[in-house]
């Protein structure tokens, strides 16, 4: 019950802030501009889908990290945590509630922007019933949940700005370099290979959740035997990161 109330609190706080609405309006403006584009009479369905998807995916990460970072740090800074923790809730309830609240808020933000994408695709006639598109939607939601958990963990151990920086860096590095790292490790030799591999495995693998190129270039749905485990991985990693954050928060002075 306490967790649910904290989730609701996080959602209310997020939706009352103006930055989400600014980004949403910009995304809708971009989608509108892209719909009207017809460069060289080419229609540009694939191009439009690519641009709008990239912008929405990036914007959702850019919105989520600060949102998650300020959940606990602002409570601590402004002492609003006292009012919550003076009640009969465990500290881990509070951490899970805040992380889940950030995740719910991030999902609401992303879903709103996704509506812009769907509308644009519908108007461009590029089809919205493609299974891979909805897989991409589900995967991005789980990626955002994971990002919330990782950011909350970083915010417990450091400052909010540091949490945002580290979490967005981890997204950027894994999404654009995760597979290159894999190649490097596969070609390595020596006694450190196993250790580096172990380090690689425990990193948050945001690259698993990015199938936008699959959607844009019409590669069809991701195989179910990969899609479902990736979702489970994301959920499990989020729980693990949040639990670790709760453990660190347990004996923290308020």
């Amino acid at each position: 019950m306490g967790c649910l109330a904290i989730i609701r609190l996080s959602l209310l706080e997020t939706l009352r802030r103006k930055d989400f609405y600014v980004v949403l309006v910009l995304v809708f403006l971009l989608a509108t501009w892209v719909v009207t584009m017809n460069p060289g009479g080419a229609g540009a369905g694939r191009f439009a889908k690519d641009i709008v998807m990239q912008v929405i995916w990036l914007a959702s990460f850019a919105l989520t990290a600060p949102l998650a970072a300020r959940q606990i740090s602002s409570d601590l800074e402004q002492k609003t945590i006292y009012v919550l923790m003076s009640r009969p809730i465990e500290r881990w309830h509070y951490i899970f509630g805040r992380a889940a609240g950030a995740a719910v808020a991030a999902i609401v933000c992303f879903s709103s922007m996704f509506i812009a994408l769907i509308t644009m695709m519908f108007l461009k006639g590029t089809g919205v019933t493609d299974v891979s598109l909805w897989q991409a939607f589900a995967l991005q939601i789980v990626a955002l949940v994971m990002l919330c958990a990782v950011t909350v963990f970083f915010s417990i151990t450091g400052s909010p700005a540091g949490a945002v920086t580290f979490s967005l860096l981890s997204v950027g590095i894994m999404r654009y370099g995760g597979y290159a790292m894999l190649d490097k490790i596969a070609n390595m030799h020596g006694q450190w290979r196993g250790v580096i591999w172990a380090g690689y495995v425990i990193l948050p693998h945001f690259e698993f959740f990015s199938i936008s190129q699959r959607v844009v270039h019409g590669w069809g749905a991701m195989p179910t035997d990969l899609f479902v485990p990736v979702l489970i991985y994301g959920a499990a990693y989020s729980i693990f990161a949040t639990a670790f954050a709760a453990y660190l928060f347990k004996r923290r002075w308020l």
């Binding site: 306490g2 706080e13 009012v83 009969p88």
Partner: protein, 250 residues
């Protein structure tokens, strides 16, 4: 069979890190009890350890040694706070929420549901005289109004024990009078109140007992009459106990 005290500390010691290898003692072997139904004033100069003690009672601060109990339950157990209401010294609350949303969230976290919660929110807000501001955002509240909102959130779940940190801070004389009446009403309802304050005059009017802390140690534990004694008022007695010279000494 002796009654379980509402609030109890046993040899409570709290130490803070003050530099690389230094530790500062905020509270040293503090032991006291607050019986059910009492209003106890918790006083002391700045840095005496009042807030540290309150934080230990609420499990905001880990204790170095000793124990704290709320209704016989160790303060490290969240169940100890089931019937406890706390009003913090600094009235910072989520500014994006309305008063109603804020009190409702507090009630929900305390375990109230549905109709009961709704009624409790309205009742708590009425009790502190803030009904007309129910739909207003906390960001538009003055300091005094935030204090009253803080009082409302402490009362919303009808706790048996109240810990109030500087409840009179920022209140105008009329609001202070209302707060004094409220504390008396709460005591009449059988609630136990531990409140810290620098307003010795207010404590003299309201409290049954005084706990005087100085440099982390308990200097005095007794009734207001006992501490005032031959002194004119509590302030004189307070300064005398702390060994401070009175500037207007005859």
């Amino acid at each position: 069979m002796s009654e379980i005290p509402a609030i109890e500390t046993r040899d409570l010691t709290i130490e803070y890190k003050a530099g690389r290898k230094k530790r500062r003692t905020a509270v040293l072997e503090l032991s006291f009890q607050v019986k059910r139904g009492d209003i106890v004033g918790f006083i002391g100069p700045n840095g005496a350890g009042k807030t540290s003690t309150i934080k230990a009672l609420l499990d905001f601060t880990p204790v170095s040694e000793g124990e704290c109990f709320i209704s016989g339950i160790p303060s490290t157990d969240p169940c100890s706070r089931k019937h406890l209401g706390y009003m913090p010294e600094i009235s910072y609350y989520p500014k994006f929420l309305t008063l109603e949303e804020f009190i409702d969230a507090c009630a929900a976290v305390s375990g109230l549901r549905g109709r009961v919660r709704r009624d409790a929110v309205i009742s708590a807000v009425e009790r502190v005289g803030m009904s007309e501001h129910l739909k207003s955002r906390l960001s538009s509240f003055s300091k005094g109004m935030l204090q009253q909102a803080g009082c409302a959130q402490a009362l919303v779940h009808n706790p048996d024990i109240l810990i109030l940190d500087e409840p009179m801070s920022g209140l105008d004389p009329i609001a202070r009078m209302r707060m004094r009446h409220l504390l008396s009403d709460l005591q009449a309802e059988g609630k136990t109140i531990l409140f810290s304050s620098h307003e010795l005059g207010e404590i003299e009017m309201v409290a049954d007992r005084i706990l005087l802390l100085n440099k982390g140690e308990l200097i005095f534990d007794g009734t207001v009459d006992e501490v005032v004694g031959a002194n004119v008022n509590l302030e004189q007695a307070f300064l005398g106990l702390l060994g401070e010279e009175l500037p207007w000494a005859a």
